[in-house]
C-alpha cells in the first residue's frame, strides 16, 4: 500500500507507513474513520502550525497584558484622587487641592488648533502631490523626505518651533507657538495617511467624472475626497493622538507647568496634560505622584474619547461607501 509522505521529509513508507500499521484500512486506503491517509491531518506540519499560532497569540497577549498591568497600576494609584474637584481646579502647591483644569483645557485648545492647522495643510499637500503633482524624481524625493520627517525625534521639532515660531516670528511662549510646533510635527503623518487614502480611490471613478464634463477640481472635491475620507480621518486620529501625548517639544517651546488661569487667546501662555503630569511625577512627595497617576487616567480618557469620536466618524463614512 502506498502512502503519501505528506510531511515532506524521509523516504515514503517510513514513518507514515509504520504509523499506519496499527490501524485497519480498507483496500482504498481509507480507514474506518473515513479519512484517507493521503490527507491525514496529523503530523509534524500540523504541530508546527499549532506552535506558530500559539507564538502569534503570545505576541498579541504579552503587550496587551503589560498594557493592562500599567493601566491597572495607574488607575489604582490615581483613582483616589479622581474627583470633580480634581478636574475643575487649577494646579496648586498643595497636592490635595491641586487639579488638572488648566492643563486639560490647554491640551484641548492645543490639539484643536493643531488639527485645524495640520489637517487642511496636510490634506492639501496630499491632494497636490497625489492629484496634480507629476510623477518624477522631484515627487519621489518629496515622498522620501516626508516619510523621513515622520521619524524625526520630537525634540527636534521643539527646537525648530523654538527657532521659528517662538523667536523668529516673535510668538513667544504662546498657545499659537505650541500649536504651530505640534502641527509641524504631525503634518507628515497627515500627509502620508491622506496620500494613501487618495491612492485607494480607483482611477476609473475619476475617469467617469471627467467623462461627464466635470472639472478636475470638482472631481477631487465631490468624487475623490468623499471616498478617501475614512482614510484621511484615520490620519487625523493618529495625528490627534500624537499631538495629545507629546511632551518634549512643548517643554522646549515653553509650555508652563504652573498656570492658574485658562488660555485667553492665541497669544496666551498655556499648559498641557503631559506637561502637568511630567511636573507632578518629578516631585518627591507621594501625594503628587498620585496626582500624576490621576492625571494620566484623565489624559488616557480624553485621548480615548477623541479617538472614539474619530473612529465613529470614519465608520459612518465607511458604511456609506460599502
Amino acid at each position: 500500500m502506498s502512502t503519501w509522505n505528506h510531511n515532506g521529509k524521509g523516504d515514503p513508507g517510513s514513518r507514515s507507513a509504520r504509523r499506519n500499521n496499527g490501524r485497519q484500512t480498507d483496500p482504498m486506503g481509507v480507514n474506518r474513520t473515513g479519512r484517507s491517509d493521503r490527507f491525514d491531518a496529523r503530523g509534524w506540519r500540523r504541530i508546527g502550525e499549532k506552535l506558530f499560532v500559539w507564538a502569534c497569540l503570545a505576541a498579541v497577549f504579552i503587550p496587551l497584558l503589560m498594557l493592562a498591568c500599567l493601566l491597572g497600576d495607574v488607575i489604582i494609584d490615581g483613582i483616589g484622587r479622581l474627583s470633580w474637584g480634581f478636574l475643575t481646579s487649577p494646579p496648586s502647591r498643595r497636592a490635595g487641592s491641586a487639579g488638572i483644569l488648566t492643563a486639560m483645557v490647554g491640551s484641548l485648545y492645543l490639539v484643536g488648533l493643531t488639527a485645524a492647522l495640520a489637517l487642511p495643510l496636510g490634506v492639501g499637500a496630499a491632494i497636490y502631490l497625489e492629484e496634480y503633482g507629476r510623477r518624477g524624481r522631484l515627487s519621489s524625493f518629496i515622498e522620501t523626505n516626508i516619510s523621513n520627517l515622520a521619524g524625526v525625534p520630537s525634540v527636534i521639532y521643539g527646537l525648530l518651533g523654538l527657532g521659528i515660531f517662538v523667536r523668529a516670528l516673535g510668538m513667544g511662549r504662546s498657545l499659537a507657538a505650541g500649536a504651530c510646533t505640534l502641527a509641524l510635527l504631525v503634518l507628515p503623518i497627515v500627509i502620508m495617511a491622506s496620500r494613501e487614502a487618495l491612492r485607494t480611490v480607483p482611477y476609473a471613478l475619476r475617469e467617469a467624472s471627467y467623462a461627464l464634463g466635470v472639472t478636475r477640481w470638482r472631481t477631487i472635491r465631490s468624487v475623490v475626497l468623499p471616498m478617501a475620507l475614512p482614510g484621511i480621518l484615520t490620519g487625523a486620529i493618529l495625528s490627534i493622538s500624537r499631538a495629545m501625548g507629546e511632551t518634549a517639544p512643548l517643554i522646549v517651546v515653553g509650555a508652563l507647568a504652573y498656570i492658574s488661569f485658562l488660555p485667553r487667546g492665541l497669544d496666551s501662555p498655556y499648559s498641557a496634560l503631559p506637561i502637568q503630569i511630567f511636573n507632578w511625577v518629578s516631585r518627591p512627595q507621594q501625594e503628587f505622584l498620585d496626582n500624576a497617576a490621576a492625571g494620566i487616567v484623565v489624559l488616557m480618557a480624553v485621548l480615548l474619547a477623541l479617538n472614539a469620536v474619530a473612529i465613529l466618524l470614519r465608520n459612518r463614512y465607511q458604511r456609506r461607501l460599502d
Binding site: E207, A208, R218, M227
Partner: protein, 297 residues
C-alpha cells in the same frame, strides 16, 4: 507627387495593398486636410457628425495612432474593431479629449464635432466632454451615490442641475437606458447594488442625463453576460435615433450586429472604413479579410 495623390485620397495607410478600388468605396472616410474636396461631397452624403483628420496619438514617446482620418455619420452606430492593443480605445478617447487626461499622453491632428475642431486653441475639453459622453469597459457607477444620484451626478457636479427638473431628467434618462422598469422602486439604493448589466445601463443613463450628442462606448459589454449584452445591444440600436454612437468592440459578431459603419484598426493605422455589411462580406483590404476570417488577432 501625382503618384502620391491616390494614396492620400484613400485611408492614410502608406503601405501598398493590392486592392484597387479602395479609394472609391471609402469615399466617406476622406476628409484629408491636404486635399480640397469638391462640393459634390455635400450632395453625396449628409455631413458627418464627428471627423478625425490626420489624428495621431502618443503615450510618452510611443505612437499608438498613425494619422487616422475618418468621418462618423450622425445618428448611426459606428463600430471600431481590431486586435487588442491596436489603439481602439485611444482613438475613442481622442474623440472627447479623454486621451490627454493620462499623464504623458498627447495627440495631434484634428477632430471636428459638427465641423468645429475640438482640438483648436481655446476649446475647453471639459465642455467637449459634456457634448460627447462616454461609457467605459467596466461599469463604474459612483459607489457612494444612490441610483438616482448616479444618474444626476453629471448635471449636479457640473452645476447645471435645476432642482425642479431633476426627477424628470432622471426618469427620462433611465427610460432611455432601458433601466427604469427595474429600478423605479429602488432609486435610493446604492448604484453598486445593481447587477453588472444594470450597472452598465446605469452608466449609460448617467451619460445620457447630461444630454450629449455623441455617445462613445469602449467595449461596453465585455464584462457582461450574454443576456445583459443583448440588452445593451438593443439599447444601442434604439439610442441611435437620437445619438451618434461609436462603439469599440473586440467582438466582430457584435460589430456586425449593432453597427452601420465599421472601422478596422491595425497597429494604430486605419486599414479600412466602410458600411458594416460590405466590410464583413467583401472587405477591400487583405488585412481586413485576414482579420475577419480569423487568420490573426
Amino acid at each position: 507627387m501625382t503618384e502620391l495623390a491616390p494614396q492620400l485620397l484613400s485611408v492614410p495607410s502608406p503601405s501598398a495593398t493590392p486592392v484597387e478600388d479602395r479609394k472609391a468605396s471609402n469615399g466617406a472616410t476622406l476628409p484629408s486636410a491636404r486635399i480640397e474636396r469638391p462640393a459634390r461631397r455635400e450632395q453625396m452624403e449628409e455631413s458627418p457628425k464627428l471627423t478625425a483628420e490626420e489624428l495621431s496619438a502618443w503615450f510618452g514617446a510611443k505612437q499608438v495612432l498613425q494619422r487616422v482620418s475618418l468621418a462618423i455619420p450622425a445618428n448611426r452606430v459606428t463600430a471600431i474593431i481590431g486586435p487588442s492593443g491596436c489603439g481602439k480605445s485611444t482613438l475613442l478617447r481622442c474623440f472627447n479629449r479623454m486621451h490627454e487626461t493620462v499623464t504623458g499622453a498627447r495627440a495631434t491632428g484634428k477632430v471636428r464635432l459638427d465641423g468645429q475642431d475640438i482640438y483648436a486653441r481655446g476649446v475647453d475639453p471639459v465642455l467637449i466632454r459634456r457634448q460627447i459622453g462616454m461609457v467605459f469597459q467596466k461599469p463604474n457607477p459612483f459607489p457612494s451615490m444612490s441610483i438616482r444620484d448616479n444618474v444626476l451626478s453629471g448635471l449636479r457636479l457640473t452645476g447645471l442641475l435645476k432642482r425642479e427638473l431633476a426627477e424628470g431628467i432622471m426618469e427620462r434618462a433611465l427610460i432611455q437606458a432601458a433601466l427604469w422598469e427595474e429600478v423605479q422602486d429602488r432609486l435610493s439604493e446604492p448604484g453598486i447594488s445593481l447587477s453588472g448589466g444594470q450597472q452598465q445601463r446605469l452608466c449609460i443613463a448617467r451619460a445620457l442625463a447630461v444630454e450629449p450628442e455623441v455617445l462613445l462606448m469602449d467595449e461596453p459589454c465585455s464584462a457582461l453576460d450574454p443576456i445583459a449584452t443583448a440588452r445593451i445591444e438593443d439599447l444601442m440600436h434604439s439610442l441611435s435615433d437620437r445619438y451618434t454612437i461609436v462603439i469599440v468592440t473586440h467582438n466582430m459578431q457584435q460589430a456586425a450586429r449593432v453597427s452601420d459603419q465599421t472601422a478596422f484598426l491595425l497597429m494604430g493605422e486605419l486599414v479600412e472604413f466602410g458600411a458594416t455589411d460590405q466590410l464583413f462580406t467583401s472587405p477591400h483590404d487583405v488585412r481586413t479579410e485576414d482579420y475577419i476570417t480569423g487568420k490573426f488577432g
